[in-house]
Symmetry: C2
Subunit: 479 residues, 2 copies
Amino acid sequence: MAKDKKLVEQITSMEDDFAQWYTDVVKKAELCDYAGVKGFMAIKPYGYAIWENIKNELDRRFKETGVQNVYMPLLIPESLLDKEKEHVEGFAPEVAWVTMGGNEKLPERLCVRPTSETVFCDFYKNDVTSYRDLPRVYNQWCSVVRWEKETRPFLRTREFLWQEGHTIHATAEEAKERTEQMLNVYADFCEQILAIPVVRGQKTEKEKFAGAVATYTIEALMHDGKALQSGTSHNFGDGFAKAYGVQFTDKDNKLKYVHQTSWGFTTRIIGAVIMVHGDDSGLVLPPRIAPIQADIIPIQQNKEGVLDKANEIFDTLKKAGVSVKVDDTDKTPGYKFAEQEMRGIPVRIEIGPKDIANNQCVVCRRDTREKYTVALDEIATRIPEILEEIQKDMYDRALAHRESHTYTATNYEEFVKTINEKPGFIKAMWCGDRACEDKIKEDTGATARCMPFAQENLSDVCVCCGKPAKKMVYWGRAY
Amino acid sequence: MAKDKKLVEQITSMEDDFAQWYTDVVKKAELCDYAGVKGFMAIKPYGYAIWENIKNELDRRFKETGVQNVYMPLLIPESLLDKEKEHVEGFAPEVAWVTMGGNEKLPERLCVRPTSETVFCDFYKNDVTSYRDLPRVYNQWCSVVRWEKETRPFLRTREFLWQEGHTIHATAEEAKERTEQMLNVYADFCEQILAIPVVRGQKTEKEKFAGAVATYTIEALMHDGKALQSGTSHNFGDGFAKAYGVQFTDKDNKLKYVHQTSWGFTTRIIGAVIMVHGDDSGLVLPPRIAPIQADIIPIQQNKEGVLDKANEIFDTLKKAGVSVKVDDTDKTPGYKFAEQEMRGIPVRIEIGPKDIANNQCVVCRRDTREKYTVALDEIATRIPEILEEIQKDMYDRALAHRESHTYTATNYEEFVKTINEKPGFIKAMWCGDRACEDKIKEDTGATARCMPFAQENLSDVCVCCGKPAKKMVYWGRAY
């Protein structure tokens, strides 16, 4: 059965123009549209269903660690935002300001939250008095607004959906542990559910979050060799607590400042799923996050018994816990195949009169296009098995891609040459000075993605200045 | 075991001051706090857990009717809001305006969505071309902002959480059916899950939504005899479609305007749960919405075996599908009882050394305070049974309360006397003229809550003007 080319021909090849390919996939797979407001997204049902799956699974994992969901105000008074100096300097230039309520000018302008550390600090003040009240481990699912200059669907938009976790603790040690714990929740989620391998590490001073003592990050590598920051977790120490006066009476009866963390994961991860797994036929979704895992496409569906059999397979698979649909529209099978591929549905099940006569169906994997003939009596066990194989293979391929696109450089010439000729991560030693980071950025466009927790000693000197090295860094050009 | 009075004494009695009682319950049950921004809520973990339960169950019911979730932009350009005249007149006076993005004045001001009909219309334009694309049945879970003058937690706040459903259809008939269908989803949910009986009906022209052809509503009666609008569903006909140019090519190849609906359900319903079921000891939650259904309180918990047995009961109930916790803090049992009552946890399970010796526990219902002795071997079946009894009894009591507080009036003197002396609903006939509605509001503060679908003929003439009656109306003072 030949694929209908109409859908496929309309998307640009990845090799020709990766950016245009990305935009085409977002549009043709019906994930989102630009909205009437510049830089804002209208997330369509299919895109939102992916986000719902991400959200439900992450939320479940959060709650296992004791997280409680809350909801804090959307608008933040300027005076509240202003209290932590580094934080306001980081965010003030990119917030949207509400200045009118109804027909009246507000006495103080309010910003639409770009992130809610300040709001939570304000809340903690009345929420906590004693060590018995600690820790507080809160989270909220919401949207935030940041007035970005250039935008791209999912990757950088003026509004995006996310969760922001906010916690306070009695000790610095406990806050550090929570920061690490949540980074590992993100990393495990990306690897186990999204089939995206990530590098876990710490941001440099230059790249860390405004107001944080330490920012941890997970960094993923896209198909085009560019990096994408995929989740961050921040340890604030007691800096915010001091600025906002968040104190508690400890066991020793002394008044102390709380230690604070925050951590966030956003809709931009959908961009990572597209750019790690997609191909020239469109989206390729890992089965564990796919809104529909199996697309049953009847062949010669008007022949007696074909639709009945398709619906029977539907029932069997649904009972087996597979998320499944039957495409019984009046489109041609070829068109349906192209649609299923564009939307990245992990398996397609073809069933026609000949298959029925042989008590079998044809199962086609979206990721590899391998085809299997499966006896109808075995689909309830085989389809889940195939989905698990796809999940595992997708991760393995993404890991192999990252490994084959991770380079090392021990001198600056090699570093520059590699970054210009071989898109990917470069591992290289660094002295710890901001000046070297700035020079690398200026010369190559690459930034320090992270200082990985898994350090290696590639050389004793900084790849840029030759001074003694302090850390191995993953460098790369990034989204 | 005497209850610790500390918690209880701090709340005002309902009879003394219902409004203060309400505020006390919101605060002491830790549902929400006023935030640093005037009129905004900080919804705390316990309040948010109730909303999550509401959301999950409603979302499941929506999806059964074919609803797809999406996410549309938070900010709406003024020019977009302006296109539908009645709608903008209804909402413009109460929106928050964003006028600055970062340090720059915006070329056009943007309002924070008070509701999203206009945004969906803008989206539909590119989303729909043919009758094959219809219906579209969308929904989003988000927050909205309305610049209210006076606010009360959950009942009226400048920001609240809600879902807003938005649908478009090929025919007027289909839009009308969807409007009714969603009202029934709300009504069934309130009655089956929240144990709140509701009157289903249509709003008068005066009370309907800005821009709608017809607004349907469910109206509930609070303990103090005031009404609360608990969910609304709007039929817009093709008015918005004409204002925004949302057209499709029908089967007959003609270009037609779509027919549109929207429907919303908000966090204000938590206020209804408080005010329908609560008592002078605090919140009383219907089991089907309670974040914790059973609170196990060990008596003499330091005696050997007590905590072990409490944890055993916990495991047994958890396996039986009951949402349960053990309160093993170092507070006194009396204090724990008072806390459990304040938070409205449907059953308390007391287990001490004597109970263990007799292989039993004491189960106390939050709603009636009835106590049962239950054999430990039977808790896995008895607790779920008791929870179901509570759910049913709570509904029956709320219904009985509404029925005993629903009056009829056939002349104006009787109407005014009743509303002043007997808080509740008044059923009375109405001529259909706005003048009579205005007069009733001015004289008594009561508004037309709805024209119920279940009409009765109480008299042939309007209760206000004596002209021929067109409709029976539920009147009442409302939140």
